[in-house]
Symmetry: C2
């Protein structure tokens, strides 16, 4: 057991345990290939399709690992988080499957569709004002009143061990990958990939893909310490959050490089994926393909795993509608 | 060999030969399931995903069977068709793979994207005026000049034997289906399903799904003879064409029933499929799900194959954009 800033650093044994624990509640998602994208990039791409995952995103892996790892006494009090994204949905799904309460603190300004989706999985939405102060105050009240267990979207060893099962499945299905590319926001998926690959496929290089408009992980990586931005704006709305101590540990130790893409490159890659692969993916998971297209020399001739992190997108507001005619 | 109105009626031996012939050029597409849709319908649904097929639709099966079945002498002169839909793309793909010329006659008013897609596969587009008279005259000129082999989109035994390989794969992968539901326009896919199922899975009932706005197959089925409409209007733009003698033969002999869906029901089913299954499907292949949702009593408790016929859709013009907020 390693200790850092009070947070336990998960090991590969934790990943194996996580996989056994969550297997009944998640999909082993398929790996798709595309001769079109192989020709376009000169690489052999293997798309791990977490957009087909339960609750529509990989985050359900970490959420299930946290929820089903609780002992009965703790579980009775439920779980809680603050998120208006896929983690909120995933934690609600996981708690629903275990039959325990889940409370999600969300800004009252969050889209009604997100609130409805959490409720659809049986979660309780508690609204706060759209500020960090309000969110923290309201969340503290929720936890004080219920004794619910806080499950952070990514800075949590149980969550990272859960996300690590995604790369585990990928390398089990597709061995001998030269590289994996995954999006980076808070760093949960990348950290899970680092944890798995450094243990069972150490020659596979790990690239993180980040929007230029929210390049705090890139700048952290180059500076050698965490840099957090205040509310960056990008179409890849799952990637706005900063690294935290636990994800920084994995990123700083195991990531080969962080590659950046502009908003237009992200939108173009998303559009092309929908058009050619006929799958619905979020803007966030178009960032890896965008950087592969942009950095041909890095990936040409290589076997490359691409993590398609999720498919929860507002079908009424597609980003290319303003950009293409 | 059976003969009817001069057209050869394909047999299951033709389907086996077709499958062997086209296998190198097509995908064996995956069968997806959705616990969400199973709960919603009370049935067990198996989605055969031809939206992931080469050229984006099942039509490539029939086109490849026609193209690769030509002897070298005929093949040299190329193939030709008139279509502004998936058959045009599919025939262009097939001809491109064999390295023979292909000419597609299209109204000059057809979307530029469609013309560009045919050219992208190496096809030649010859424009006609948007009338049947002009189309037939221009097409006759093309064939007279080149000696190209005409491959009809569906009223062609080679094409039907090719489409029949789709249901063959489905019942090989998912045995003991109680029913199959596929969209009906000209009837190529339904005829192929009839051909396969009546031979290797005769207890599987075959339902055709049709837009209420283009219900000529429904009215033909009830009347006992072909009724063709002049230019019906429906969002399911692959389903506007009428039955012809060969497809009528299969429909009238083997289809259990034809079920109808309104435009709004089709759009809702399409939206729900994108949202929940995270796959891009055409309006035409949302019709089967729409009729399953509408006729719960028919399908409840049953194992039902659903043919997702294609995924070629204009991502800039989605039908719910006018309908949902």
């Amino acid at each position: 057991m390693n200790d850092m800033s009070g947070l336990y650093i998960p090991t590969y044994e934790d990943v194996i345990a996580a996989h056994a624990r969550i297997e009944p509640y998640i999909h082993r998602t398929p790996v798709l290939t595309s001769s079109y994208f192989n020709e376009l990039t000169g690489a052999q791409l293997f798309f791990k399709c977490e957009n087909f995952q339960k609750a529509g995103a990989f985050k359900v892996r970490g959420a299930c690992n946290a929820v089903f790892g609780l002992d009965d006494e703790m579980a009775k009090k439920g779980v809680a988080t603050h998120s208006s994204g896929n983690h909120a949905l995933s934690l609600s799904y996981a708690a629903g499957r275990r039959g325990i309460p889940v409370t999600v603190v969300m800004p009252r300004t969050a889209p009604e569709a997100k609130k409805a989706a959490v409720r659809g999985y049986g979660g309780t939405v508690v609204e706060c004002e759209p500020s960090t102060t309000s969110r923290e105050a309201v969340f503290a009240e929720v936890v004080a009143a219920s004794g619910a267990e806080f499950v952070h979207p990514y800075n949590d060893p149980r969550v990272i061990a859960g996300q690590a099962t995604c790369s585990k499945e990928l390398v089990e299905d597709i061995p001998d990958l030269d590289a994996i590319v995954a999006p980076i926001g808070g760093g949960g998926m990348i950290s899970g990939s680092c944890l798995t690959l450094s243990n069972i496929s150490p020659d596979t290089k790990i690239y993180a893909a980040e929007p230029l408009n929210a390049d705090d992980a890139y700048r952290s990586f180059k500076a050698g310490h965490i840099i957090a931005d205040d509310a960056p704006e990008t179409v890849a709305d799952g990637l706005k959050v900063p690294l935290k101590e636990l994800t920084w540990h994995f990123v700083s130790n195991h990531v080969e490089d962080i590659l950046l893409a502009t908003e237009q490159e992200i939108i173009d890659a998303m559009y092309l994926t929908w058009q050619r692969m006929k799958i619905v993916i979020e803007p966030s998971c178009a960032v890896p393909l965008a950087v592969i297209l942009k950095n041909r020399a890095v990936f040409e001739g290589k076997r490359v795993g691409v993590i398609i992190t999720g498919g929860n997108v507002d079908l009424n507001k597609l980003p290319w509608m303003q950009d293409k005619s």
